[in-house]
Amino acid sequence: MAENMAENTTAVVLKAVNLQRHYPVRQGFMQPPATVRALNGVSFSLAAGETLAVVGESGCGKSTLARQLTLIETPTAGELWLDGHRVEPQRRPDAALRRSVQIVFQNPYGSLNPRKTIHQMLEEPLLLNTRQRRDERQRAIAAMLERVGLRPEHAGRYPHMFSGGQRQRIAIARALMLRPKVVVLDEPVSALDLSVRAQILNLLTELQQVLGLAYVFISHDLSVVRRIADRVLVMYFGRPVEYADSETIFTRPQHPYTEALFSATPVAEVGQRRERIHLQGEPPSPLNPPPGCPFQPRCALAETRCGQAVPELHPAGAGQVACILR
């Protein structure tokens, strides 16, 4: 399996072992704060040049995972290895470690500072992290703009002068200025128009091939995921429910939630409509988790034993699944 191969090579740039992130939530006066387990036991490893897709619906912990991986927050428990170095839980990671992972956000309208020129924005990471001279920075910025398909004269402009697709190119350029090993792509194309989406996806693929980047691709768009991911991690309610390589998971999904998710995704082919698995209701409240498997209240296959223990991720078929029925 791909994961074992990745484990054995030295090129593993990102590894998470049983990653957890809990948030205290105040419940009101005189009541003890509750704990929300936004991220609960996520493990994976990622080699240079590989893409891991994290798939799930809102509230599944995708964004929390992104915040841990980009070191905006530190995990409550578990191990996070970046480029061979361990990120200590509850401690501020050092700058060198921080440089090796960058992020591209979903909404290119919110992720660029409206009061800064493109040049200022791309220069910031260099100013803060390197001792390059002014002309070196200038050259680096011009080269990066060209690499992402923009012209050097764009550097003096402000974000509002660009279209959504161009803004996303700028955001990608900013993320790559420090030559990171890992780029977390948080729904990088879902805010873009159809005709631009393919351009950006191609750019990401090209950059990955040229620079050997490892991508963590967070998305809910399964057709995109199928196209660009090497491996897929499906999450539900802060937990991984299925982890397998892309081919395996798309041809033979194991977890009932993965199946439901796939069947709910519309396909742009007339008459190709798959048999829908009707998911009743909505994800449970994080303050009031259901007993046992968190998916069990909505699961069509649920049995009594599903409510007794939280299923752990275990090997099944060619991948791993967290369901006691499989």
Partner: protein, 291 residues
């Protein structure tokens, strides 16, 4: 650090120009500024010079008025027009200093409170609430009473009274901006707290602050005038407009001009600054712009 590029400035001016009130206010302010700069040249007399032969003269268009005392003289024979012209210096100076102190201190406090949150935020905001809880003039009066009367102390007092508005405004903007993706992106790029606060977030919070500052400018002049009127601000013979009003109050029934002209000067200046502030607010507010 550039807050606006020329494009934004041109656009802002384009929208500003559409407000007639704003233009009128701007024209009058230009006049006042001219008086401030060239007071020595355009004022006919020294503002403290007492003409013993010309006590309480009415303006020239009045039968009893006479040249060269255009707007008449006060009880000790000082030329009113000259005093008003020199008084503009003090009033504009008061406005600028008070607003500068309040804006700088208020912005920094608001930035810190909004950015860090937690107990620090709570402490600052409760303190501001305490200041807000007092009637502003009463608080300023009390402060001046403690610090001792005088223009400078009055200015400090007024600046303190104005502080909470800037703190609240900044804090609210910062809290809205600090979780935006571009701030997170800057943090991921390695920016520290100070850089995030002052270079990344603050420029995006400036628009409402600029407007609040122009509106406070007029408040500062009014409050200084009020303190001057109560004898707690500028001391005689300084030709500060509020102090002039205060000195003249005993002549209110006999010599209307001594009271009217300083009052009119304050009124028109405040009005024009408010007009400019309103126009600026509309010009800077994206929601007021046609897409």
């Amino acid at each position: 650090m550039k807050l606006f590029d020329t494009g934004t400035l041109a656009v802002t001016w384009g929208y500003f120009r559409e407000s007639r009130g704003g233009l009128v206010g701007l024209a009058f302010l230009g006049l006042v500024l001219f008086a401030v700069v060239f007071a020595d040249v355009i004022a006919p007399f020294d503002p403290t010079l007492q003409h013993r032969d010309a006590l309480l003269l009415p303006p020239v268009w009045n039968e009893a008025g006479r040249w060269p005392y255009l707007l008449g003289t006060d009880a000790v024979g000082r030329d009113l027009l000259s005093r008003l012209i020199f008084g503009a210096r003090y009033s504009i100076f008061i406005g600028m200093v008070v607003v500068s102190i309040a804006v700088v201190a208020g912005t920094i406090l608001g930035l810190l409170a909004g950015y860090f949150g937690g107990w620090f935020d709570t402490a600052i905001m409760r303190l501001m609430d305490v200041i807000l809880a007092f009637p502003s003039l009463l608080l300023a009066l009390g402060l001046v009473a403690v610090l001792g009367p005088g223009l400078l102390n009055a200015m400090y007092a007024i600046a303190l009274v104005m502080l909470p508005h800037f703190v609240r405004l900044t804090r609210a903007s910062v809290m809205g901006e600090k979780n935006r993706d571009y701030v997170v992106a800057s943090r991921v790029a390695g920016a520290g707290n100070a850089r995030l606060m002052f270079s990344t977030i603050l420029p995006n919070c400036m628009a409402p602050l600029i407007v609040q500052a122009t509106l406070s400018f007029s408040n500062a002049i009014l409050d200084a005038a009020a303190l001057g009127f109560l004898g707690m601000g500028a001391q005689p013979p300084l030709p500060e407009w509020g102090a002039m009003l205060a000195e003249a109050r005993e002549f209110i029934s006999r010599a209307w001009w001594v009271v009217t002209f300083p009052g009119l000067a304050i009124l028109l200046t405040v009005l024009s600054i408010n007009l400019v502030g309103d126009a600026l607010r509309d010009a800077l507010d994206p929601r007021m712009r046609r897409s």
